[in-house]
């Protein structure tokens, strides 16, 4: 999809939504409260739904409205509700042991965004798309991906890791709305359902962890080595 002749208002709206989503992932990095993570993830999902609808309207893909609706339903309402239930049942409200302080993770997150920007610019230049909203989408997608991996690496609560995984998928989701809005509907639908299965099975696993291991801190999981 090329956006060479995109309406400037639409282009700035896309950019605004993409950058707002990126900022929300920094809220996740900068906090140690699980509810903050959840809130940031929920808001991010709503923004992505808005973005789908906006892209659908501007570029003329009516099926994106459906995607937007499904995103709100699953990622904006159902997933947060399920995770909130797990948080309540676990009675854990924050990261107890941080291997990287919030401020240090923010700095590393910023460096990752710079890296993503360099990669995206390089690719944009090669493909003759420099300066367009496409480069921004690539940047945001790669940054959210890297920040998700950072979350997985430095946060140890089971819930943080689930949210880190969902953050990875959100990045792909956001990027796909702008880069390939015409991607066959089937794929995106199945990805939505796939995510639902992920969270369901994670719920079971968290319960197992709690009953058998007695804690949901993944640092307890270090018996298998070598």
């Amino acid at each position: 999809m090329s956006y060479a002749h995109l309406d400037p208002i639409a282009a700035s709206l896309f950019s605004l939504l993409a950058i707002a989503s990126l900022l929300l992932s920094f809220i996740m990095l900068g906090s140690r409260w699980l509810r903050d993570y959840l809130l940031a993830f929920t808001l991010q999902s709503w923004l992505i739904a808005l973005l789908s609808a906006a892209v659908g309207y501007t570029a003329g893909y009516p099926e994106l409205y459906l995607i937007a609706l499904l995103t709100v339903l699953f990622r904006g309402l159902l997933l947060p509700y399920l995770i909130l239930r797990i948080i309540r049942r676990l009675k854990v409200d924050r990261e107890l042991h941080l291997s990287l302080s919030p401020s240090a993770s923010l700095v590393i997150g910023a460096l990752l965004v710079v890296f993503a920007f360099v990669v995206a610019t390089h690719m944009g230049n090669r493909l003759g798309l420099a300066g367009s909203v496409t480069v921004l989408a690539l940047t945001v997608m790669l940054s959210m991906k890297l920040i998700g991996f950072l979350m997985l690496a430095v946060r140890h609560e089971a819930i943080s890791q689930i949210l880190g995984l969902l953050e990875l998928e959100n990045g792909i989701f956001l990027g796909s709305q702008i880069l390939v809005p015409g991607m066959p509907l089937l794929i995106e639908l199945v990805i939505l359902f796939d995510l639902l299965i992920v969270v369901a099975s994670f719920g079971v696993l968290v319960r197992y962890l709690l009953t058998h291991v007695g804690s949901t801190d993944s640092r307890e999981l270090r018996r298998l080595t070598g």
């Binding site: 997985l152 015409g182 089937l186 796939d194 099975s201």
Partner: protein, 486 residues
């Protein structure tokens, strides 16, 4: 006709899974699962000849049967059948009759996802099928509900899901690259992508491929993304370990192989192959280091899987008709052999009540017959003649010498010898070390636990002595189809 066969292939485990959940009687579930496995195996045996005439499409082109897919399905079905036989004997030993229906339902569902994944024509749907295999098998890995098995299941789902999301990103970039030349909406099937690839910017193509390689490589267990593999393989029940190692890893490897086929005709760039070869060589190195110092018997087998996936990566990275032939032959041999090894490890673990190699001594005094089979399997898995893996590894070495990455052949040779010594040293201690105490006599094994080992070693020996001409022909056609020919 072939469409009906494919339907039967996927439906029989599905029906078995549903039946297990409805009937809830342990003995019936065993039978159902075994029957489904037998049907799948019969169908899978018939598939490779049907794929010879070029890829065939079914159900509005969602399903595609090609030669490489048929071969992977055959490997999966063989392991599924052997593991189902073995599960009957092994799961009775666990004394968990109440949970058996759930086990067999998950087991059949796991087999179903693995049999279906190679048939997916749409690249996105293939990704979803591979992700589904993870979700189902997580519960099988954690089935024993012990501390360690839950830990293994958790690591498995987190590491593999995170890794495979990179494959999705790569797939997205492929689609995006295609949309720049073919317009925003098209069906991303293997064939379409192959047609578009020459017109996509090579840098974008390489980036997308590297992401896909890391993503599916996590699932294949290539080092350094292998961290989940030893835990998951060692903590699940033995039949599940056999399925993970002998079938699941191949299913993900097929994705890498097909993407290589997309890239190859597009541009002559060596980078993708070199990276694959480097990952394979590094997997061999990591496996060699951990095999030499290993204490856990099933972890030893798991690192041997890392080794053999490394060998497969080298084979497909070397490429050419010879590399593909050696790789596919190796895939089948490894599936047979690794099932045998996990069955033997399961028997020994039950007999000695321990997973630790130092606790296992004088195996032959307890298990004279199945012990011998396991020892023969150990000789085979290290690539010694007269078994199948010897032939396939020699073929892969020859393929490497012919290609541009000949440096890897020397590394592969040295590491294979290190692994041969390290692996067999553990078996020397377990079988012939005189210092250990003589173990108390264990309960004799039921025929269910020994028969699948015999069934695995016979074809392994035959394939080692005789490489059928028909196989050469078939592998040549696979290589041709992967490059887009018919």
């Amino acid at each position: 006709m072939t469409g009906a066969l494919l339907l039967l292939l996927v439906l029989s485990p599905t029906v078995a899974a549903a039946g297990c959940l409805i009937l809830r009687r342990p003995r019936w579930c065993e039978g159902l699962n075994l029957a489904a496995a037998a049907v799948s195996l019969l169908v899978a045996l018939a598939l490779p000849p049907l794929a010879l005439g070029g890829p065939r499409l079914y159900w509005q082109t969602y399903v595609r049967l090609d030669a490489a897919g048929a071969w992977t399905i055959l490997c999966t079905a063989v392991v599924y059948f052997l593991a189902s036989l073995y599960a009957v004997g092994y799961m009775r030993l666990l004394d968990e009759d109440r949970r058996l229906p759930r086990f067999y339902a998950l087991f059949a569902a796991f087999a179903c996802t693995m049999l279906a994944a190679p048939l997916m024509n749409n690249i996105g749907v293939y990704w979803i099928a591979v992700e589904l295999t993870t979700l189902v098998s997580t519960f099988l890995v954690g089935f024993e509900l012990g501390r360690e098995s839950i830990e293994a299941a958790w690591k498995y789902i987190i590491v593999v899901s995170a890794g495979i999301s990179l494959a999705l990103l790569g797939t997205l970039l492929f689609y995006w690259g295609g949309s720049l030349v073919a317009g925003p909406t098209y069906d991303m099937t293997w064939e379409v992508l192959q047609g578009l690839a020459p017109r996509i910017d090579p840098v974008l193509l390489d980036t997308a491929f590297l992401l896909v390689l890391i993503g599916y490589g996590t699932k294949v267990g290539l080092a350094p993304m292998h961290t989940w593999l030893p835990d998951a393989h060692s903590e699940g029940p033995a039949p599940v370990s056999a399925m993970l190692s002998g079938a699941l890893l191949n299913t993900a490897m097929l994705g890498i192989l097909r993407f290589l086929g997309v890239l190859d005709p597009a541009h002559g760039d060596l980078l993708p192959r070199t990276v694959l070869v480097a990952l394979g060589a590094f997997s061999l190195l990591v496996a060699a280091l951990f095999i030499v110092r290993q204490q856990g018997i099933k972890r030893l087998m798991a690192y041997s899987s890392v080794e053999h996936m490394g060998v497969l990566a080298l084979a497909f990275g070397f490429g050419g008709p010879l590399g593909i032939a050696g790789g596919l032959y190796h895939m089948l041999n490894h599936s047979l052999n690794k099932s045998l090894m996990f069955f033997g490890a399961g028997n020994v673990m039950r007999g000695y009540g321990s997973k630790e190699i130092p606790a296992i001594r004088h195996v032959l005094s307890i298990y004279p017959r199945s012990g011998l089979l396991w020892l023969a399997g150990a000789v085979a898995i290290t690539g010694a003649p007269p078994f199948g893996l010897f032939l396939s590894e020699i073929t892969i070495l020859r393929a490497g010498l012919a290609g541009p990455n000949a440096w890897a052949v020397a590394i592969m040779l040295v590491l294979l010898i290190v692994i041969f010594i390290g692996f067999l040293n553990h078996f020397r201690l377990m079988y012939f070390d005189d210092r250990g105490p003589l173990p108390a006599a264990a309960k004799p094994l039921s025929a269910w636990c020994v028969a699948p080992m015999i069934l695995a070693i016979i074809p392994l020996l035959v394939l080692g002595l005789w490489w059928p001409q028909a196989f050469w022909h078939f592998f040549a056609i696979v290589a041709q189809q992967l490059r887009g020919g018919t």
